[in-house]
């Protein structure tokens, strides 16, 4: 039984009171058509009204897809009016068989009135529900817009907080410390790369807008530093056409992919690895990819928070018109690509 309770959802005291009030008003409106007393007619009206209300409520809560909910509710009112009139007969102790013979005219009128009033009320309720639904939809759209704004802010905040990893910084300096004594020329090169990288990576140094060229330069500096650190284990190549370098591209995403390629791709596998950065434009879309020949993803090892951050920021910046796609590289490693609408 408990499982059918939901059919009565919406049958509130408020609704019952409304129906009672409407019945009283309706009775007053049509009393001149009848010979009955007001009270007698009111009882009939209440029987019809309550039965219709019950049917209407149930019809609205039945989960089915064959016919529209509104049609079900109108049908419910019609059936409810018929049943309600018969019910009224019972209540008043009338002979039911007579209702369909000599008293048919009166019964038909009360049924018709029930149906008429019922339909008007149903129409009003449907309009009200529609209004409520519209309101809810507006509220939801509003909430979504707020959420999106919040996401954009969060993405910006994340970007501001994206720090230069101390471990990376000190390791690089330790390399420089050694190179200064053994190979001064290399030491200078590493320092230059480090300066270039820091200029782009330190939040305080970062300029608001950036383009693909600048992001690629930063990635190159980053790769140069790692090449010194990892020796022969790391090689890299950058295939970015000059005419794409002025294209707008969100900051710190390419470097994040490169960092991933080193950290999860080349670094864990002990032989040498190759990292390639490519960019191309295709039908108004800019596709920038980082390919590594490293270890590839292990099904049970996470890719770090970097990828999630990129996805969230892409969504906040471009909605559904940008994406990050990860694919396996043949014969080994990973291709990570970011696709954004091409704008300069």
């Amino acid at each position: 039984m408990k499982s059918y309770l939901h059919l009565l959802e919406g049958l509130t005291v408020q609704r019952v009171l409304w129906v009672t009030a409407i019945c009283a008003a309706a009775t007053a409106t049509v009393i001149w058509l009848f010979l009955n007393t007001y009270f007698d007619l009111f009882v009939t009206a209440l029987c019809v009204g309550y039965t219709s209300m019950l049917m209407f409520t149930v019809a609205g809560n039945i989960r089915q897809t064959r016919m529209p909910r509104e049609a079900m509710q109108v049908l419910a009112v019609v059936v409810g009016s018929v049943l309600g009139t018969i019910f009224a007969g019972f209540v008043k102790g009338r002979d039911i068989s007579q209702m369909f013979t000599e008293r048919l005219a009166g019964v038909a009128i009360s049924m018709g009135l029930g149906i008429g009033f019922g339909c008007i009320i149903v129409a009003a309720m449907i309009l009200r529900e529609k209004h409520a639904r519209d309101q809810a939809r507006i509220a939801k759209a509003e909430a979504e817009r707020h959420q999106l704004e919040k996401n954009v802010l969060e993405a910006q905040l994340q970007l501001m907080q994206a720090q230069v990893e101390p471990h990376f910084l000190f390791n690089t300096l330790a390399n420089v410390q050694h190179l200064v004594e053994t190979d001064a020329a290399s030491a200078t090169r590493v320092l230059e790369s480090l300066i270039q990288y820091l200029r782009a990576a330190l939040p305080q140094m970062r300029e608001g807008a950036t383009n693909l060229g600048r992001e690629v330069d930063m990635a190159r500096a980053f790769l140069e530093i790692h090449r010194v650190r990892m020796g022969s284990r790391l090689a890299f190549d950058i295939e970015v056409p000059d005419d794409l370098k002025c294209r707008a591209f969100p900051p710190m995403m390419l470097i994040s992919l490169v960092e991933n390629a080193i950290k999860h791709g080349v670094d864990p596998c002990c032989e040498s690895g190759m990292i390639t950065i490519r960019a191309r434009e295709d039908e108004g879309r800019l596709r920038v990819s980082v390919t590594d020949t490293g270890e590839g993803v292990k099904p049970k090892q996470g890719g770090g928070v970097g990828l999630t951050n990129i996805r969230e920021r892409l969504k906040a910046l471009y909605g559904s018109s940008a994406r990050l796609v990860m694919e396996e590289n043949a014969p080994r490693g990973v291709v990570a690509s970011i696709e954004v609408p091409a704008t300069s």
């Binding site: 499982s3 939901h6 989960r63 101390p166 471990h167 910084l169 000190f170 390791n171 300096l173 330790a174 390399n175 420089v176 410390q177 050694h178 190179l179 004594e181 053994t182 010194v228 650190r229 990892m230 020796g231 670094d267 864990p268 596998c269 002990c270 993803v297 292990k298 099904p299 049970k300 090892q301 996470g302 890719g303 990828l307 999630t308 996805r311 559904s320 994406r323 796609v325 990860m326 694919e327 396996e328 990973v334």
Partner: protein, 250 residues
């Protein structure tokens, strides 16, 4: 008699750096071997019987902590790290030797002095400290499925499980639905269920696993079932009677 040491660091320049500095500060110490990571440390101990290990904490493959565990008191251990606040705090408390990169000659001198005295003694156990650090550094997260591999054309797409809204079996394939794509894989629901993180992925139907992070709302459906609406997707998912208890109000 002279002591022997082994240096383990994945970066060749940094091994060379430490070696040069040690040669200056402690000429009697012989660096008998160098390692790129902790792999094969048993063989190194057997072959060289070193008195001392300099272990970089962050190394790919077998890291410094795992290597120290393998040493298990058979030699003294000095940790080397570029930056790790937790580690440094732990070392300070545990009075274990450590060196920070880039090296500070004076500080390295202090470590060398301390080591000269201690090498005569039995190596202290670093187990407790290593355990503590391994926990702090999150060495081993739970082994759950993190990536879905799916063939798309001639490529293999890699989808992080966090992106997946739901899995649904579709005759002999399993549909993997994300907010911007849909792919088919061969791995059946039952196998996925064993491998996915049960805190994030709930079975809601014989044929469906949902990512709870992407659920927008749950409402009552036909009979004793429930229906799930998702964020970023129009499809509704049916929760069959056997699984509705998952969504009962607390």
């Amino acid at each position: 008699m002279g002591f022997t040491a082994v240096i383990a660091d994945d970066e060749p320049l940094l091994r060379a750096n430490l070696r040069t500095r040690l040669a200056k500060l402690w000429p009697e110490l012989a660096v008998v071997h160098e390692m790129e990571n902790g792999r094969g440390i048993e063989e190194v101990i057997a072959a060289h019987e070193p008195d001392l290990f300099f272990l970089d904490i962050h190394m790919p493959g077998v890291n410094g902590l795992e290597a120290a565990r393998a040493v298990a008191g058979r030699a003294h251990v000095v940790f080397v790290t570029a930056f790790d606040q937790y580690a440094v705090e732990a070392f300070e408390r545990g009075a274990i030797d450590y060196v920070l990169k880039p090296f500070n000659e004076e500080r390295l001198g202090v470590t060398v002095e301390r080591l000269r005295e201690r090498l005569e003694m039995k190596p202290a156990s670093v187990d407790a400290l290593v355990e503590q650090l391994a926990g702090r550094l999150g060495a081993r997260p739970a082994e759950h499925l993190r990536w879905i591999k799916a063939s798309v054309g001639s490529n293999v797409r890699l989808i992080p499980v966090e992106e997946v809204l739901f899995f649904q079996s579709d005759e002999k394939y399993t549909r993997v639905v994300t907010c911007d794509s849909e792919v088919l894989i061969r791995k059946p629901i039952k196998e996925l269920l064993d491998e996915l993180d049960p805190a994030k992925f709930w079975q809601i139907h014989r044929a469906t696993i949902v990512n709870v992070d992407h659920i927008a709302s749950v409402r009552r459906g036909l009979k004793d079932q429930a229906e799930i609406a998702l964020r970023d997707n129009r499809e509704t998912l049916v929760v069959s009677r056997a699984f509705t208890h998952l969504f009962k109000q607390m």
